[in-house]
Assembly symmetry: C2
Homo-oligomer: 697 residues x 2
């Protein structure tokens, strides 16, 4: 593989994806946007969402500028790290801005199509979501490959690839803010709207009299859509950057292994290029028709991407890397993505035992409902984590064990992240369909769209569940790979062979200092989750207060004779979400830095393992219990066990309220936290190696 | 220190403690037992509790016999392991039988004294609890020291001390069954009684018309009293056994360190003997008077034990071990016990922010109440875990780092477990006071005992919180020490110097196989908790059904004209608790064995670290969130935020129901699980080293 080839191939694949971003945007926008009322409602949502992103980005900007200056100073003369940091953060924000803007236009057009052409509604929602999916992949590829060229990464001078770490950190930090801010926003608005609207006033969901209803619809966009987009942009960047840097360690021979040469560094870019092309093909394959169920259409897209990827992986492994074992590792990763999605579906799907048992427990009251959900949530963390652990071991064994196993695990991770584009398209489809339903309700056309909106909504719930299972596996595998990159970077900085570092006495698992560091690391996800949940709770109170105030003070509101003031709730949610996202993020930055300086670079790795392992299992618990409570509530609303308004339903609504901040605010942010701490540690590794206080370790 | 001295000293200290067990038993029994009705109610509780223990022991016996035979075969010719295993299990059961039997006699006598001599009520309840505390300490010491003598452990032939590991495993297994069975029993009965009694029927707690009320009172004894006793017996045994075995590695010189000689093996026995004497002195110092508040009386006891211990530690370190650093380690552990208790009090005490915020959140409904409790629960795991981590590092640094740090951490652990006797006395005091209140209510004398029962109950809640914070710290530190013993045993079995084993390549923290093993280990506490919570839920349903049935089918029951059939609920709870305790325990045994055979002895250590770290943090979350919900409910019941019967109270009751299985069934059992897996791994270590399949690792 020639260096020139990849300097062209990866950016070209990025441009190819970007082309389709433009194409789908154009196609979505030219669709009909419905009645004047629909346009009005949609414009409120759009304005609210854009206003939030603008204010969020302004807040983030302070941190970005501050940290960039700090990085510039402490890493001097490596200015590229600070530069990459800014690029990573900006591209993350750009990708989600584009994606969310199209999503807030696709929603009303989906609602309109649902009135007239149900088959087309699916295509609009999916292509609207695809803009997010493809922007992410495109900006990942373009940003990283162009930076690599700009930094002068060349076959005979490859070391500058390690400067890309700044890009990863920038992407992580911006994304952590975006996911956390969006997550707090969406859940505070959702819980606030439901508590007063559904529970106290007994008015339907998305009723225009509810002052928090627009905030709720905005929340779907800034949380579920932009937030999740940020998450996937981040794991894509970190993954790519980390595996490329790790490649440095596998260019030259290690023992019997002859070395991959510069291809070791290019491999991740090529595999991700395959992902970009595969995602475009997959999106093109999804077309709603009157005959096909939405799920069949979506599956068609997933399979197209999958089959293309497997074929391309084979070519990549055989003819570029000349190591067919990498094909098995990549494919193993791809298969792992599928299996993770299936496991999550068992634990959160309405037709499996857990959700039905949780719904049944709701008939004995909210306490038993919540207990049962927690028990299944705990259980649900077991199989995925063991499964991912075994995938790691399998990839390690495929490569024959030893340090080469690192590269095998990296390849498996590239395989799993490969599906990112199409999965994200499916995920963004969910909030678009959800919004379409809300806009229809607000515009008084909900009866016209009735059945077709429900079908889309059900499909959206499935894709959301798939994304969660998928992103959990991605996060766990990626964080393992970034840790390995941390180790290969240690070996490079110390000038010691990789094997010597891996098996160094300071990396002794049973060294009390390392056990201590694992223990400290294991507390971080608890601290972080506590803060995220508190922020949701606090913001939700204020939204509740405001909605209650409007019902009390605006005469005629409950009778539908006066209009609610939607901007107040949007304002409250925006302000408080932005406030709430700062403290957890800062703790996330401060802890690894403190560990690195106080304990040194070696125990820091142990700390990171603690963070990762608790973070991942805790996130699974949160995702799955939250999803299961939600679906148990839906199961009852579908007319089972007494249906809407029954005591069981009330208990299930309480369970759902408990699950909301877990599954949509704390859980997904944990994913980013894990990776951000790893990539930050790699960024500052040279400092830790030189300037640690060495108080212990 | 002469060998002959300790062959006498440790058993003598055990006999000294046993003497006071007899003395306090005699003293408690000779107190007045009250009216015929009180005696009748008390005899029901006593019969129910004894029947449960009998049936529980029968169930456990099958496993003990089966496993003893298995151990005999696989460990042959080391018959001592199977023999010790049986002794450990039997002594655990004996200690809690004695303790619980006296507790079920002290309850009615406390109620009677509360009518007449409030000051004496405290003394009776505390001495009744002290029988449990002292039995545990006595049987720990006697069992282990006599077995050591019997196994021929001698200064010039010390290696047989490693055979004591069977005792630890026996104690762990029996205790895990007892804690889990008792925990499921007590919470199922409690939740069942409350759900129908308080919530559906609106009758007071402990009302004689409630068919589950006797089961509930029995539950206090078999769960809170016998269960917690089993927990502390177990951690005491494991700790003693593990540190004695670890001593083998520190008899001879390592580098600059000259070696402690045979004293290294005796040190734990001596320190525990100090604990036994200290506990007796502490109990004698607790005397209720009319003037002193119960808390002052209890504190007097704790301080007496503490001060005696510090002085004796100094003597032990200076004149026996000739290493004053050990004094600092021991005292550090003692101080850690205190600090842990304080932290738990902050998170679960009614006068601190968390409980008050949770109570306030209850005014916005059960969902927000639960969310807030979870957030504080997550947060509450942070400081104790970081604190214990730092205690470990401090002990490690006191000893100058390196492998000698292992011994320092062991000493700190001996310091923390030192307080066991007096802490357990305080803990068993809680259910006795609780039972006294229940018996008073059932016997219609509740107005007579009113104020003095409340004061005792409040004191009991504080001691319970102290015990929880304490036992968490004990469990975490002990499990670290047992892991180190596992390592020292590896070095002995492999015939390699300890330093070589600790820093062996196979113990590389960043070896993918070890990371995988940590990941798998981290899922076990989730699986275990899920099963324990499910068991409580299932049993509670059945109790609810039975109580409802009796109200429906027994004419005149609600009007108080007919008697409820208490034996049915006792039977249901007994049967189901015994059924529910089996599966989680078996998984707990099977997993480490499977890991040992499939992955081998090295990654098994990584697995154990994963189990320990998640297990401890998860248990803290469960304890503290459960405790905080409980106290938030009590805070409202005390008349705040609307008081009893308000909406906030209903929400708080739901929160309490959620917390119950977490704090009293799953949480405490996790402690034992952690240690049992460690000690089992040491027991089977020779097999893993020789016969592992070496599929990986």
């Amino acid at each position: 593989m020639e260096y020139e080839f990849v300097t062209h191939f990866a950016p070209l694949a990025g441009i190819f994806a970007l082309l389709f971003v433009g194409l789908f945007t154009w196609w979505v926008i030219k669709q009909e946007a419905g009645t004047p009322r629909m346009r009005e409602v949609a414009s409120w949502v759009q304005q609210g969402a854009n206003a939030f992103l603008r204010r969020e980005f302004r807040t983030i900007a302070y941190f970005i500028v501050g940290l960039a200056i700090l990085l510039l100073i402490v890493m001097w003369p490596k200015w590229q790290i600070a530069f990459g940091f800014v690029c990573g953060a900006l591209l993350s924000m750009l990708a989600i801005t584009i994606g969310m803007n199209v999503a807030t236009r696709a929603n009303v057009r989906t609602a309109q199509a649902a009135r007239t052409l149900p088959g087309k509604a699916l295509t609009i929602a999916f292509r609207g979501g695809a803009v997010m999916g493809l922007s992410i992949v495109a900006f990942n590829l373009l940003g990283i490959s162009l930076l690599a060229i700009f930094f002068g990464v060349r076959p005979h001078d490859p070391e500058n690839v390690s400067l890309l770490v700044g890009f990863g950190f920038g992407a992580s930090l911006a994304s952590l803010f975006a996911q956390l801010g969006g997550g707090i926003y969406t859940k505070a608005a959702d819980v606030g709207a439901d508590l007063v609207g559904k529970v106290e006033m007994g008015i339907p969901e998305d009723d225009p009299r509810n002052a928090a209803v627009i905030a709720d619809l905005v929340g779907d966009n800034v949380g579920d859509c932009a937030g999740r987009g940020a998450d996937l942009f981040e794991s894509g960047s970190d993954n790519l950057v980390a595996t490329m840097i790790m490649g440095l360690a596998f260019m030259n021979p290690i023992g019997d292994f002859p070395g991959y040469g510069f291809n070791a560094v290019l491999f991740p870019l090529l595999s991700r290029s395959i992902g970009a092309i595969g995602a475009v093909l997959g999106v093109l394959a999804v077309r709603g028709t009157r005959k096909r169920s939405p799920i069949t259409s979506l599956n068609l897209g997933f399979f197209t991407t999958g089959i293309f990827s497997v074929l391309a992986f084979f070519a990549l492994a055989k003819w570029v890397m000349h190591d067919i074992r990498l094909f098995w590792c990549l494919t193993l990763g791809l298969a792992a993505a599928l299996v993770s999605a299936l496991i999550v579906q068992y634990y959160t799907g309405s037709n499996a035992k857990p959700v039905q048992e949780i719904a049944k427990a709701a008939t004995s009251g909210p306490g038993v409902n919540i207990i049962t959900g927690m028990a299944y949530g705990f259980e649900s963390a077991v199989i995925p984590a063991v499964f991912i652990a075994l995938v790691n071991v399998a990839a390690y064994l495929i490569m024959g064990g030893g340090v080469l196993g690192f590269f095998g695990i990296a390849a498996a991770t590239l395989g799993i992240t490969e599906m990112k584009g199409i999965i994200m398209a499916g995920d963004a489809f969910g909030p678009i369909a959800d919004n379409a339903g809300g806009i229809a309700e607000m515009s008084g056309i909900s009866e016209e769209v009735g059945a077709s909106a429900d079908v889309l909504d059900a499909a959206g719930n499935i894709t959301k569940a798939i994304t969660k299972g998928y992103s959990m596996s991605c996060a766990l595998m990626t964080s393992v790979v970034i840790l390995f990159t941390y180790i290969t970077e240690m070996s490079r900085h110390l000038g010691q062979p990789l094997t010597d570092v891996v098996y160094h006495a300071k990396f002794a698992l049973v060294n009390p200092v390392n056990i201590t560091a694992i223990m400290i690391g294991s507390t971080i996800p608890f601290l972080f989750s506590a803060q995220a949940i508190h922020a949701v709770g606090r913001t939700a109170y204020k939204v509740v207060d405001e909605v209650r105030r409007q019902f009390r003070e605006i005469p005629g509101l409950l009778e539908g004779k006066a209009n609610a003031d939607y901007t107040q709730c949007v304002d409250i949610a925006t302000r408080d979400a932005l406030k709430g996202m700062i403290a957890p993020t800062l703790w996330g930055v401060v802890f690894p830095v403190a560990m690195g300086f106080i304990f040194g670079a070696w125990p820091l790795a142990a700390y990171l393992i603690g963070v990762k392992i608790i973070g991942a299992t805790l996130a699974m618990f949160m995702f799955n219990s939250g999803g299961a409570w939600d679906n148990a509530k839906k199961f009852i609303e579908d007319g089972h066990l007494g249906g809407k308004g029954s005591d069981a339903h009330k208990s299930a609504v309480i369970g759902d309220t408990v699950g909301d901040p877990l599954k949509d605010a704390a859980g997904p942010s944990l994913h980013i936290l894990i990776k951000m701490q790893n990539i930050l540690s790699i960024t500052l590794l040279p400092l830790f190696l030189e300037h640690s206080l060495h108080i212990v370790g």
